[in-house]
């Protein structure tokens, strides 16, 4: 799926990932391809991304909103 993580000061990540592991205000969720459309509030400390080569990237955020759109597109608006 394609993912974009944006803040007001710039783009933190843009590209393809296999898996997104994020902490929402209700608990931890993992997003894979074909997830249902969802809007969720994110909490600190970070969003973890796993790409096709199983490489993990950790992006620190303090708060944010995650949106899964149809067509496996994910947007994250974050503050750092």
């Amino acid at each position: 799926m394609t993912l974009g993580i944006y803040t007001l000061q710039g783009t933190l990540f843009q590209g393809h990932v296999k898996k997104i592991i994020a902490t929402t205000t209700a608990g931890e969720i993992t997003i894979l391809d074909h997830h249902i459309p969802l809007v969720a509030r994110l909490a600190s400390p970070s969003v973890r991304l796993v790409d096709a080569q199983e490489k993990e990237t950790i992006i620190k955020i303090t708060s944010g909103v995650l949106e899964v759109r149809g067509g496996s597109e994910v947007f994250i608006l974050a503050t750092q």
Partner: protein, 312 residues
């Protein structure tokens, strides 16, 4: 006729001035480009947040307070954004004229008003308006960070929540293109969808280097299908709306900054052109004075010779 020495001195001083204004022009041009690039970084965020807001507004009727007008509170807040430094043509004068009109209207209608000033020129102006200044922010760098601009947005929100003011307007310089900026009056609070759309559009100049965008279309309707909200649309809006306001204020300050540099660039270009014209005029005067001197000396010599010849 002035002496050649005096004219020469003037030419030298005008040339020095031209050199300084030329340098300022180049510096402003670079700073302006930098400021524009910086402002553009917020664009993907702005587009995504706008689309999200649209979807959320369709799903909930229970709006956060920031989206609603206080009907009870009469007082109005105005945020006046100017530069810290002068030498930028009529940039600040235009903003202050707009602010003046706004204040005059308030006085006529007997509405209490409060001024929040950003920039030294705005602060000086607000100080002259008897006791209605509630705060001033000065000394932002050329590229203000979110860390610096957030306190302004937070202050606006706090006052709104405490019912110190019912609406917030802003006067600032909108960066239309490199060569034209205009002072505009916009509503910041309560936050409206049209207002947010305006910011997203405003992030790009109308023409010029950064005007093109690959995904410029804002009218996308992705919200036709069902969304899951976690925890609820209302709580997400509670986070999103203050965030949008922060974005709005941040952008206004960046845009004013880009406008300041571009206005200064144009003002300095005019100054350099005028100085060059003056130098050419003065050079002409200098040549005339020098020639007049030579002619006079020649006449004197010839006259002297003739007088001598007549004696013999």
């Amino acid at each position: 006729m002035p002496s050649t020495k005096l004219v020469k001195q003037r030419i030298r001083s005008v040339k020095n001035t031209a050199q300084i204004t030329k340098a300022m022009e180049v510096v402003s041009a670079t700073k302006m480009r930098h400021a524009q690039e910086f402002a553009l970084r917020a664009r993907p965020y702005a587009i995504a947040s706008l689309e999200m807001l649209r979807g959320l507004l369709l799903k909930t009727t229970d709006l956060p307070d920031l989206l609603r007008e206080h009907s009870r509170v009469n007082a109005k807040l105005i945020l006046v954004v100017t530069s810290d430094k002068g030498l930028a043509g009529s940039l600040n004068a235009n903003v202050l004229r707009k602010a003046d009109a706004w204040i005059r209207e308030c006085r006529i209608r007997n509405t209490p008003f409060i001024i929040l000033a950003v920039g030294k020129k705005a602060k000086e102006y607000a100080d002259r308006q008897q006791g209605s200044l509630c705060g001033a922010f000065v000394g932002f760098g050329d590229v203000a960070t979110l860390f610096e601009t957030s306190p302004i947005a937070d202050m606006i929100v706090q006052g709104f929540e405490a019912e110190s003011w019912g609406t917030c307007d802003v006067v600032y310089t909108h960066f239309r293109t490199t060569l034209s900026q205009e002072a505009v009056l916009r509503r910041v609070l309560p936050v409206t969808r049209a207002g947010i759309e305006e910011i997203v559009r405003g992030i790009l100049p109308e023409h010029g280097k950064y005007a093109e965008l690959p995904h410029g279309d804002l009218a996308v309707s992705r919200y036709a299908f069902e969304y899951a909200y976690e925890p609820s649309p209302h709580e997400i809006l509670d986070w999103l709306v203050p965030e949008l306001l922060r974005m709005h204020v941040h952008h206004i300050i960046l845009e004013s900054n880009a406008s300041e540099h571009s206005a200064r660039m144009v003002a300095m270009k005019h100054a350099t052109d005028n100085a060059k014209e003056l130098v050419s005029d003065l050079t002409l005067t200098y040549n005339k004075v020098r020639q007049a001197g030579i002619t006079r000396e020649l006449t004197e010599i010839t006259a002297g010779r003739e007088a001598l010849e007549n004696n013999y």
